[in-house]
Symmetry: C2
Subunit: 266 residues, 2 copies
């Protein structure tokens, strides 16, 4: 980029902007509210990345897209998964435009390529180009081309972390459907405590401890997200986790106000 | 690409797949019929490129997107133009998928970059990657980033010609709203004659003759298309013009059957 301004990457979870249990059902209220919260903040340059939620999960599972190309029957499923994500992204970007944010949809699968599920090549040109014009690029978890697997699923979390590193962003705000990172799964354990702040060293220790229990993620689904964030934290990028389902939290995080959540720092 | 198979690029005019006079109105019947015609042919690998028609024209004109970036007020217009094209492309790709064609939408503005309106950089990676998996990439005329203008409009015709050259395609089929290239505008001149076949030399002579009358395009809007096709024809790529509004013409052209239209050849 010509100018190096501190960027914020806002990741909005698929479980926030869709109804998780119902195939291809948007949480229209959340999409509208979040667009409004984003429009009220002044922390551009900003990049938004969103997950797939029920737009991605059902169809991708049905055709085993994440596992890679095994039979021609999957091709239609690959097409359908991508179209579903285009549909969700369109809802998100349209809502942002309604709130006068000059959002620029960026098809992740046109820019991100993986090798066995890990990003191996990124075409940053459209993203940096849009940022230079003061547009807000909006990317999303997507079905992408993979040099080894043929195709696979690339998560919004990996995109956010990868972009933050590539663009030397200041921070990532992870908008999720819980208040932050807990000492154990708050949905199962009454004594689970929200962690207000955690250093990379402490986070690594925590992940190592619960790593053996990977299949039963004791953090309540946050483990995978944390693993994705580590490379960004290592580069000095701050990661703030907030509950995007609760009105005002994303707004406060974007504006650097005091907000309930978890801060991950080097 | 790993394998070099003769490709066909099918360009579908915006005036064919949309209702030209009404803003953002698809010609759903044409989209469905053409998807069916494409599904009945076996000429893959294939790339489809479509125009914007009434999805692109109205909003792009309103915000003067083609003229380039002049004021911040245009940014929302740029966003809206791109979203409109995403909407039209979604209709086209969904119809192809309905007909069991594994179509892969490719956001042109994520891959094509221009300098003063002419393609200066293309990221072919998603397009060749999709082709290798035997998917059918579907691109479209779009609002794109321009190194000199900030942004501008890139036509589907220029994309088709550019891709054909870059990928060494065998031919381009131009599906338009007239029967082919005429000796004069068939809508105005009763004595206009359809040209069945024309060589590059004859085409150049014809364009030179009518070049002076550019503002009143005597070919009935075909002049710009022809100018875009010349670089492809020079490379030995065949260009077939057919009327995509007439059922069966695109199907016949795709299958190399005898069909009314104009053949442009070296």
């Amino acid at each position: 980029m010509g100018e190096q301004v501190a960027q914020t990457i806002l990741k909005l979870g698929g479980s926030v902007i869709t109804v998780k249990e119902k195939a291809s059902t948007p949480n229209t209220q959340a999409i509208r509210r979040l667009s409004k919260e984003i429009s009220r903040c002044c922390c551009r340059p900003m990049i938004i990345v969103h997950g797939g939620g029920s737009f991605g999960h059902f169809v991708a599972s049905k055709y085993k897209i994440k596992e890679g190309y095994k039979s021609p029957e999957q091709l239609l499923g690959f097409s359908k998964t991508r179209q579903n994500m285009v549909a969700l992204n369109k809802l998100m970007v349209d809502a942002l435009i309604m709130n006068r944010i000059p959002a620029a949809s960026v098809q992740s699968s046109a820019c991100f390529f993986t090798e066995e599920g890990r990003v191996s090549y990124v075409s940053l040109k459209p993203i940096t180009g849009f940022l230079e014009l003061k547009l807000v690029p909006v990317l999303y978890g997507d079905a992408v081309l993979d040099t080894k697997l043929g195709f696979t699923i690339l998560s919004g979390d990996q995109i956010a972390s990868n972009l933050a590193i590539a663009l030397n962003s200041e921070r990532i705000i992870l908008g999720v459907d819980v208040d932050g990172l807990y000492t154990s799964d708050p949905k199962l354990d009454h004594e689970a405590e929200l962690i207000g702040k955690i250093s990379l060293r402490e986070l690594r220790r925590m992940l190592a401890k619960i790593g053996g229990a990977r299949t039963t993620d004791v953090t309540g689904g946050m483990l995978g997200k944390m693993v994705e964030m580590i490379p960004a934290i290592e580069k000095g990028i701050k990661v703030d986790i907030v509950n995007a389902k609760k009105p005002g939290r994303v707004y406060k995080a974007l504006n650097n106000m005091n907000v309930l959540g978890t801060k991950l720092e080097l």
